[in-house]
Symmetry: C2
Amino acid sequence: MKIRKYLPILEWLPDYRLSIFHQDILAAVIVTVMLIPQSLAYAMLAGLPPEVGLYASIAPLLLYAVFGTSRTLSVGPVAVIALMTAVAAGKISTSGSADYLTVVLLLTFMSGAILTLMGLLRLGFLANFLSHPVISGFITASAIIIAFSQLKHLLGIAANGHNLPELILSLVHNLSDMHLITLILGGGSLAFLFITRRWLSLWLEQVGVSHSLASSLVRLAPILAVIVTTWISSFFVLSEQGLAVVGDIPAGLPPLTLPSSDFTLWQQLWIGALLISIVGFVESVSVGQTLAAKRRERIDPNQELVGLGVANLGSAFSAGMPVTGGFSRSVVNFDAGARTPAAGAYTALGILIVILWFTPLLAALPITTLAATIIVAVVSLIDWHAIKHTWRYSKSDFSAMLVTIMVTLLQGVEVGILAGVALSLALHLYRTSRPHSAVVGRIVGTEHFRNIDRHQVETCSRLVLLRVDESLYFPNARYLEDRVLEMISENLHVQHLVLSCQAVNLIDASALDSLESINSRLKDAGVLLHLAEVKGPVMDRLQLVNFPSHLSGQIFMSTFDAWQALGPEHKV
Amino acid sequence: MKIRKYLPILEWLPDYRLSIFHQDILAAVIVTVMLIPQSLAYAMLAGLPPEVGLYASIAPLLLYAVFGTSRTLSVGPVAVIALMTAVAAGKISTSGSADYLTVVLLLTFMSGAILTLMGLLRLGFLANFLSHPVISGFITASAIIIAFSQLKHLLGIAANGHNLPELILSLVHNLSDMHLITLILGGGSLAFLFITRRWLSLWLEQVGVSHSLASSLVRLAPILAVIVTTWISSFFVLSEQGLAVVGDIPAGLPPLTLPSSDFTLWQQLWIGALLISIVGFVESVSVGQTLAAKRRERIDPNQELVGLGVANLGSAFSAGMPVTGGFSRSVVNFDAGARTPAAGAYTALGILIVILWFTPLLAALPITTLAATIIVAVVSLIDWHAIKHTWRYSKSDFSAMLVTIMVTLLQGVEVGILAGVALSLALHLYRTSRPHSAVVGRIVGTEHFRNIDRHQVETCSRLVLLRVDESLYFPNARYLEDRVLEMISENLHVQHLVLSCQAVNLIDASALDSLESINSRLKDAGVLLHLAEVKGPVMDRLQLVNFPSHLSGQIFMSTFDAWQALGPEHKV
């Protein structure tokens, strides 16, 4: 049972049959074909040599098949994580330099270690720090930055920068160096991809192709662009005309690599590694859950952390880059009929075959085509609908989203996501800092008590009954203190305050301190504090620290008991 | 009304009478006498020349009297803030160097600006980020660091470091340079202060002195130590024997100073300034609230931010250092009978008189005596009781406290408080990440529904009724998604899921996304999602984004309506 939890492969491998194999292998072939240009493109986006993307599509997929819980997630390099890798590594080293790969490998290792550790410690809930508006805004802004960062390849010019103003300035500055052949091939690919994406599947469906097959075919359009432009580039030897191409990729197994032990580097990289881990995890889990639910399957978020963590560790030891589950590939894998994670393992074998024997075919592939495929892929990540939707639904959530987008665009990905997280946490604290509470009075002749502002109720000037409608913890502890003290300072006749706690499931140490200070401050002001309807577990805790014996007043079973003991019927 | 809110002085000044003046002036004289050695000592602790402490005790007090809402808070330099100032400024400049004062002034200005801005924007709730265990652990650890940092003055040796290991190593390393006269005067003062603190008030009470007068007299013991050791130092001209003394303090009004406009410096200091602001505010407000409650007065936390902010701005423009409300001084002020903030203004005048005419009297004051007064003051901040209490009450809160203490001691104040805040937020997210919810069934023959695990209820295999007992927002949105999907994957007969929302006061954008994905995933799995008992304001929001029309199922007024429509009585 325990082993099965940590080795999800044991769930499906014993029942593996030939019919499942057939489905898995078909999906694997399709995904492999899709993954080749993607892994080259995302390696380029991360500022790495193309083979690194292929290396990152072998070991991680094999390991995820053993440790992952999603049956159809396609792990490998993805756009947003590649950008975050470029930013984190680019702060320390320059793309193309000898130690850039060392930095990326350490980043991959640290990200793998963080994910694995979070999984083993069941810390998946930490992903909750990223609210949906923040992650959605972050991905939209990252996609815009990525699209702009690829324009230089499309135009055949040099440009740099990890945020929008830098990129645009740099592009404008070098625009005069534009290379026409590059632009024609890239622009042509881009136009072809946008047109197929918009109209091909409609047209296919009109001629009778099923919806899911049609959309799978559309997702394979980049392959066609790659094949055609590679053939053109190769036939006319355009690299001699100044067209940038992928070039020679070393054939052979991925080399074994070990993470750097440079402690200073660890210190510089940990924030980047943490952000890559969390963003990658959140993205991957949401894809995995969407697909799993369609077949009433389940994924286990904490085990997913382990699966992705081990995949990244594998990537770090085999000269790869940070990986996670990609959205479009996983959907293709699912639609193509993958039944088990074995499909991922077969994809890894496919990539292995490519890197062993077919790399010469990729040498003439124009970089500008890869840039076009990246642009088309990331443009679909820009989520205008989510922005409008959030604006309409909640101005406070929208503000968190807008700040994330703007700061990411203007300052870059790391500051952007941190700003979004900080703001959404602050807004959350603000919303939860006012526990719902109401002064209640007695409905005449009954044992029921209701809000005095909404109902005709009986009250007593000596006695205030305050019903607390939420658990008490540090974000709202101070507010209760303020509210009670304000009530007492406004009403000089009060002698008794009863807190009615039927909705209080938890009192944390901060709230306990607040209760103690409310108690002693009320005592100084000549008012007794009483509690009513305290739940069992809460009471047990309070007794651990002898709170009931410090309490100036009493603890009543019910609000009505308190009313009888302290209310108008009680003669002073 | 509006003006009164921002100028609390208008609350009390119009009613100011001679009798109140008499009470205020008496308190002011006592507090002035206490503040002289304190301001010198805390300036020293912050690595500043002694006069800076006196300057910081003039303008800030006058401004707080105008803008502050506490009637008895005594604003000025305090120990923990002085330490934090030393740490923040020490990272950029060296104490004693020409630009150290520039850095501290900018820090004071930024802290003042942050506080004022937070107050005007009503952001007082941000102080909730600091849970009680974190602030209490932080102050305990800071007090230990401060006490150790003063040992060098007591021993007459050199030592450095902003955390415990550095300090201890540095002390041990230089122990051989110990200066005997310094140790005798400092050790004697220390022993005297500890003895008076422990026994004097008991003895005074035994001979008939009232409790509050007795404890005020004890708080004035440091003055006696200062007078006696200054006299000894002066009479025997001990400074010529190597005793470190305060030395010449320039007489005259505080100079006008302007904050530096060096942008790099701003960037380096803002985290330090923010932490100083928040810690200072939290400490000050808790002192202010304690004292105000004793007289059934009120303080307004947001206006307190403005009051403290303007006080710090005043300090920055008059060559001062960061200030906030101090605990022991405020208690003395209160016990001595201060009625209004005018007492603070009179204290400022007292300090002004000292700096204009009486600084020569302070020249022979031994530094070792000041160190002794600091040690005695901070040792009382070490709160063993809170540590034991929190351990007994809640292991989770205790862990946040322990991490704060350990990281502060080992890594210093800034990392310490940030680690504490991060951990307590993470623990809070963890606790709130599981919204209380229960699968409910019908109590036979009634319209009531109860938890199926606790009551004998009627259920239906086609229908799951899930009662959600909390508001839905990003920390818990994912959990609900997981829970629902798990329920559906385990129970293949389910056709309808009803979320009963009577306790849901809020659905934020993340939770809305979760609901939408629950809805579409359930639809993929052939299960319809229904809602019941949605509150009015929540429903209004959902309608803004047309959620009801996307919903695969219906929205019922009550759980019973849902039961009647979908339950066992409904024939499929």
